[in-house]
């Protein structure tokens, strides 16, 4: 059954005011186009979850879609701060932002617990750190088999919606990823509703030729959106490079609310969809981000008829 939808329809049907939304992707495969559509449809009061809130959440939080952030590291990687997020945390400008923070491993295991239907996940972290003192959901616990062996547990995270980008999927949502995997699989299995966004929708036979590369099965996917360059300025391994210049430029744009607002007007509200965003940058921009090919070797699965 085809689950192919436009980004506009997928966001309209699956993302609701007040939802907990996770747009994951660790540097790689961050679906900016979905964030832009959520801004454009003016969702409000979202709880945004993400290991590494970076420029995408600075844009969304700057645009006022969220009231809470769940995270483990916030920043503009390799550049510095998230100015819009910081304004809200440090000065409640223009409104306060509630935060709930973990470490990376803690966030990964929250998704693991959520995806595995477990009540909590034990990890060896947070010892002698102040993090549990500011987050009561991180709880020390003794091993039932050895009282002296103490771990910390984190609660499951089951977002209402996960939005994950993948290189390709078939129309049913069976999605394949290569390169950095982030938490795409874990968040997709943990979420109640899942939007998979891909560079290319391919025939089912393409997926079946290399099943080890399938990270998310269509069984947990609600909508498949084909949206080339949807990760920009993040990247899709083998398709386009990270646009590091944009990350640098964002530092200047987000520094003042006025320049951020002007950017949103020009690049989000002023466009009706991501295809217009791609067109506005122009072909030369995308040509400059295309990598040389580096093909994987082939493996022989064997035919057992």
């Amino acid at each position: 059954m085809s689950k192919v939808a436009t980004m506009q329809d997928a966001v309209r049907d699956l993302v609701r005011d007040g939802d907990t939304v996770a747009i994951e992707g660790f540097t790689h495969l961050i679906c900016f186009a979905a964030g832009h559509e959520i801004i454009r449809q003016r969702r409000r009061d979202l709880t945004l979850a993400r290991m590494t809130p970076d420029v995408i959440y600075d844009q969304m939080i700057g645009a006022g879609v969220a009231s809470k952030l769940i995270f483990s590291w916030m920043g503009n990687p390799g550049v510095g701060n998230l100015h819009a997020v910081r304004r809200r945390i440090e000065k409640a400008d223009p409104a306060p932002l509630e935060i709930e923070e973990y470490s990376h491993f803690g966030m990964v295991c929250r998704y693991m617990a959520g995806a595995s239907n477990l009540p909590f996940f034990p990890i060896r972290s947070y010892y002698e750190s102040d993090i549990p003192s500011v987050n009561p959901k991180i709880v020390p616990m003794s091993s039932p088999y050895d009282e002296d062996d103490q771990v910390f547990v984190v609660p499951p995270l089951n977002p209402d919606v996960a939005i994950v980008h993948a290189q390709r999927a078939d129309a049913g949502g069976d999605a394949q990823i290569w390169g950095l995997l982030g938490c795409q699989k874990e968040v997709a299995f943990a979420a109640r509703r899942v939007i998979v966004v891909v560079e290319e929708v391919v025939e089912e036979s393409v997926i079946r030729r290399d099943p080890n590369r399938t990270v998310i099965p269509g069984a947990v996917v609600d909508a498949v959106v084909e949206e080339p360059f949807a990760c920009h300025p993040s990247f899709a391994q083998g398709y386009y490079d990270r646009d590091n210049r944009f990350y640098l430029e964002w530092d200047r744009i987000a520094k003042e609310p006025e320049t951020l607002e002007a950017w949103l007007d020009e690049w989000v509200y002023g466009l009706s969809n991501h295809a217009e965003y791609v067109q506005k940058f122009g072909d030369a921009h995308w040509d400059g981000l295309r990598p040389e090919p580096a093909l994987s070797g082939e493996v022989d699965y064997g035919r057992y008829a």
């Binding site: 660790f26 920043g75 990687p77 945390i89 470490s103 295991c109 102040d130 390169g179 990270r242």
Partner: protein, 260 residues
């Protein structure tokens, strides 16, 4: 403070990189951070540690970057690497289970026992400056067998008391530290733009080991929030060699992004 570095034919960053890379001799699996640590590890791989496996928290084991990565998730880290793992595998099987020999950390604040703050300046509930937070630093500090710190030194960063302890260092009580039962042995060295430090076995206290060429003891004192313990054999930091400078300038950071 001396600005003589340039006259000596190298920058402060180049000195920090060379001094840190020499500490990786014989190391196998190293958790790399972005920026200076990345150049340090790549330099060590070409000099004192040819078998060094570069591990990135983004899920890459055995990276062979063909260009200087500008983030820990740069696509050049995946292409040609030994393995790309899920982040759960990386943190659980590689880090938590004790496979990582050395990791680099830094922070906005460090105290005399190598505890680090990357979370907040001021009060947590009413922050003066909200910093990025832990990321993987908290568990890296606990599980990597040795922590190397690289950071610039100043009164506001080398503090008597942290505003927030994100990542644990030494406690100040070696008996307590020995009983922790963690893989991590805590920080073993700190390299700054002024000096290098080790940690005293008996007290877990940061100990001044070498002063960079042209730096005076008073420069170090003026740029930290406590009176430093000083090694009895205080020495001068060995400047970067021709070979090290050549590799840094021609191969590792030809654009001078991190080393100018």
């Amino acid at each position: 403070m001396s600005e003589a570095g340039a006259d000596l034919g190298y920058t402060k960053a180049e000195l920090m990189i060379a001094a840190s890379a020499r500490q990786l001799g014989g190391v196998s699996n190293c958790f790399v951070g972005v920026g200076l640590p990345n150049i340090v590890c790549n330099l060590a791989q070409r000099t004192v540690a040819p078998d060094l496996q570069l591990v990135y928290e983004s899920g890459v084991f055995g990276a062979r970057p063909e260009r200087l990565p500008l983030s820990i998730g740069d696509p050049t880290l995946a292409t040609g690497s030994t393995a790309v793992t899920s982040m759960f595998d990386l943190f659980a099987f590689y880090l938590q289970a004790g496979l990582i020999d050395v990791a680099f950390l830094g922070g906005a604040q460090i105290d005399r026992h190598g505890n680090l703050n990357t979370t907040v300046i001021g009060d947590y509930a009413d922050p003066k400056v909200r910093l990025p937070g832990s990321g993987g630093a908290c568990e890296i500090a606990i599980h990597a067998r040795q922590i190397l710190v690289i950071m610039r030194q100043a009164q506001r960063s080398f503090v008597e008391r942290l505003d927030f302890r994100t990542s644990p260092g030494h406690s100040g009580d070696p008996a307590h530290d020995a009983a922790r039962g963690w893989h991590g042995g805590g920080p073993s060295s700190v390299v700054t733009d002024l000096a290098t430090y080790g940690f005293d076995d008996a007290t877990g206290e940061m100990t001044l080991r070498t002063l960079h060429p042209g730096v005076r003891l008073d420069d170090v004192r003026d740029n930290m929030g406590w009176e430093p313990r000083i090694a009895s054999d205080l020495d001068e930091t060995r400047p970067p060699s021709e070979e090290e400078l050549g590799l840094i300038r021609e191969e590792l950071d030809p654009g001078g992004v991190y080393t100018k």
